[in-house]
């Protein structure tokens, strides 16, 4: 059935465009457009020096109702513990198996369960999840999170509280820079199964257009920025 439908739809499209299949020379141009994507209009908020981008990233994340903290390398675990204590949250955390989070997992104040790799998938009972971002987008305060063996995608969505660690070096300007990171991760293979661009905690306005934070995803989003980029201090 689908094959007949497929042909009928493609034929219908071509009839409407008053042509047959795309001619070879046009196809070559289109193919190049796909293989070497060009940016379109990139707004000024997606551009700037390192320090400007990092501070814009933190401001934009806060505007989207995330909380943020900026710490020296190695202080991530303490930052997570401080945040949980300050918000009177449980110290039991589910930490992605990502090796960049080993420091968080070693924090003595926390009671840690790892998720991903040999530890299996996140559980419905995980109240606090800790993930590591691939990148941060200064333009919108967005975190780019990719699924993989040691970074389960459900950890971004199931817990009530989501803590995301992102390195200052990985904070880039806009979406286009984020896509470059993604393509580098994929290395010519298909993209990771799930790419989450996360901007603030979950929310809804579906009841009388009153904004409520904490719909089905996390009620709180906390961003821990690891200050590993000397260039991000003033320019």
């Amino acid at each position: 059935m689908s094959d007949i439908a497929r042909r009928a739809i493609l034929d219908g499209i071509r009839a409407s465009l008053r042509r047959g299949p795309v001619p070879e020379d046009t196809a070559a141009v289109l193919d190049r457009r796909l293989r070497r994507p060009e940016p379109n209009v990139v707004p000024a908020i997606a551009l700037g020096g390192r320090a400007a981008l990092v501070s814009r990233f933190l401001t934009a994340a806060a505007t989207a109702a995330a909380t943020t903290t900026r710490v020296a390398p190695g202080r991530e675990g303490a930052a997570v513990a401080d945040f949980l204590r300050a918000h009177n949250l449980p110290m039991a955390v589910a930490v992605a198996a990502d090796a960049r989070l080993d420091g968080v997992a070693a924090e003595p104040m926390l009671s840690v369960t790892r998720r991903g790799a040999d530890h299996g998938a996140p559980a419905a009972e995980d109240r606090v999840g800790v993930s590591h971002a691939l990148a941060g987008l200064a333009e919108t305060g967005t975190l780019v999170l990719v699924s993989g063996p040691d970074s389960p995608a459900t950890l971004n969505m199931l817990p009530d509280t989501h803590v995301v660690v992102v390195r200052a070096r990985d904070v880039v300007g806009g979406l286009e820079d984020g896509w470059e990171h993604l393509r580098a991760v994929a290395g010519g293979d298909p993209l990771p199964r799930t790419v989450h661009l996360v901007t603030g905690p979950s929310r809804t306005g579906d009841i009388e257009q009153t904004l409520q934070l904490g719909a089905h995803g996390p009620r709180q989003l906390h961003v821990v920025l690891v200050d590993d980029d000397p260039a991000a201090h003033g320019d």
Partner: protein
């Protein structure tokens, strides 16, 4: 596509006298409109982005066959499946076949207008499969057995006490006297109830805001996170979407994303923009094991060859709906189509038929606000006028309207006759208006005078006579 627009006039009568609906619609001005205006003002490149967005969609539509084939190749390369569907029945059948193959009993659904268009829930229920809407607004209207009244805020017509009533009637597991006065209480209860459904569903169905030919990814843009739990927790993820959603590259998607959230809710980005590419990889600890994309045509390939092609650029942001004075007065249900407002009045006749959608192209004052705010610069007023011409040419307009227009055009093409006619009418109305200057009844205008007075023309004659007098005065002054 099920359309009840024939009853438009009766629906409107009900809508304008519904106090709950009036209250609900009043929030739109302070919410969506103000937020969009603020977001647009804060981005100097917004107009340039609109031009770029329009160019991207025009390019994608001009090579739609090519980009759909590339998209399909990439989905398959990532381990997914693509199903092509000419109409709603074929799309529903494709979804049912997948559900049956996995012996699905409960299906969770993220918000999808295409699923509404093909009436997927009814098809699932008829096959003994329980669909559970997980977007809060969609969940509320599913409990109330209603259609969405807005494409991004499906329950905008429902007041919170009505939500509480539905929850009390359906969530019998909780104490009957629990407090449900505040939106927070309602949201927390829905979160608890739906969390169980997310975890127990066999199949998750979402829509898509964009399809990426470069990567074979589908993108959903959401705020609640329900679309993510819907697609990540069950073993099977089905994307129900339509052919015009494909764009070439992620860079192109970036332009559309910058326009979408700002035009819709005034956010820079919605909370979650999620790219889904194929099923989970062998070493992934979570995510769906199967990934299917159902590509619906349902009249779109035909629209591509018509004067309504530009409407295929629509990214379903709802800006035109939020700014439409007619929608603001009557809400979404009166339109009788799952797509209300200006964009609905343009695409419903194209996707269903003009006969079924009769009346919709007239549900507009042609004030032009919709086109002014459309991020894709769709010439909605022009298209509404085109439909009216079709309606007239195909004798679908009521006889009174056709005769009225015929008489008017007869006069309008004869200036002397027109001036004489309007002069006589103006004098007659002035006389009837008397000293009050208003008429509480006028021939052939009883529909107007039943609810308000008709102002009589001011003294001094018609526009043309006053214009001529003024010109004469000017000339004599010189």
């Amino acid at each position: 596509m099920h359309v009840t627009s024939r009853a438009f006039k009766e629906n409107v009568r009900g809508a304008v006298t519904d106090p709950n609906l009036r209250q609900s619609l009043a929030t739109m001005k302070t919410g969506f409109r103000a937020n969009r205006a603020k977001a647009v003002a804060a981005l100097p490149e917004f107009e340039a982005l609109r031009d770029a967005g329009k160019a991207i969609k025009d390019h994608a539509l001009a090579h739609l066959d090519y980009y759909l084939e590339r998209f399909e190749e990439r989905v398959v390369a990532a381990g997914g499946h693509v199903h092509w569907a000419r109409d709603g029945d074929e799309a529903c059948r494709a979804v049912l076949d997948i559900c049956r193959a996995h012996a699905a009993r409960v299906v969770t659904k993220g918000k999808s207008m295409v699923a509404e268009e093909i009436a997927l829930n009814q098809a699932l229920e008829a096959a003994g499969i329980q669909p559970v809407e997980t977007d809060l607004g969609e969940y509320i209207i599913q409990l109330r057995q209603e259609l969405p009244s807005h494409i991004i805020a499906p329950a905008i017509h429902v007041r919170k006490h009505q939500v509480a009533d539905s929850f009390r009637a359906h969530h019998r597991q909780f104490p009957a006297d629990r407090p449900l006065e505040e939106p927070r209480d309602l949201l927390d209860e829905a979160r608890v109830v739906l969390r169980d459904r997310f975890l127990s569903a066999d199949v998750g169905i979402t829509g898509a805001n964009l399809l990426i030919a470069e990567t074979g990814s589908t993108i959903i843009v959401t705020n609640e996170g329900n679309g993510d739990l819907t697609q990540l927790l069950p073993r099977v993820h089905i994307v129900v979407t339509s052919i015009e959603k494909v764009v070439p590259t992620l860079e192109d998607a970036a332009t559309v994303l910058r326009l979408l959230a700002r035009s819709a809710t005034g956010q820079l980005m919605s909370s979650y923009t999620t790219l889904s590419t194929g099923p989970r990889r062998p070493d992934d600890p979570d995510g769906p094991e199967h990934f299917h994309v159902v590509l619906l045509d349902n009249g779109r390939s035909r629209m591509l060859g018509s004067e309504f092609r530009d409407a295929l650029r629509c990214i379903r942001c709802a800006a035109c709906i939020n700014h439409c004075p007619v929608y603001g007065a009557i809400g979404g249900h009166a339109y009788g189509s799952v797509y209300p407002g200006p964009i609905g009045s343009v695409i419903t006749p194209a996707l269903a038929s003009l006969e079924e959608a009769a009346g919709l192209p007239n549900a507009s004052t042609l004030c032009g606000r919709c086109e002014a705010v459309c991020p894709m610069r769709i010439p909605l007023p022009r298209m509404l006028r085109n439909w009216r011409e079709h309606e007239f040419a195909r004798h679908l307009a009521p006889a009174r309207v056709r005769w009225g227009l015929r008489i008017w055009s007869l006069a309008a093409r004869r200036p002397a006759l027109y001036r004489m006619g309007s002069g006589v009418t103006a004098r007659l109305l002035m006389w009837l208006g008397g000293r009050r200057g208003r008429l509480s009844w006028a021939p052939m205008a009883s529909a107007w005078t039943r609810v308000r007075d008709l102002p009589a023309p001011p003294p001094g004659g018609t526009f043309m006579t006053r214009f001529r007098t003024m010109q004469g005065q000017r000339r004599s002054r010189r």
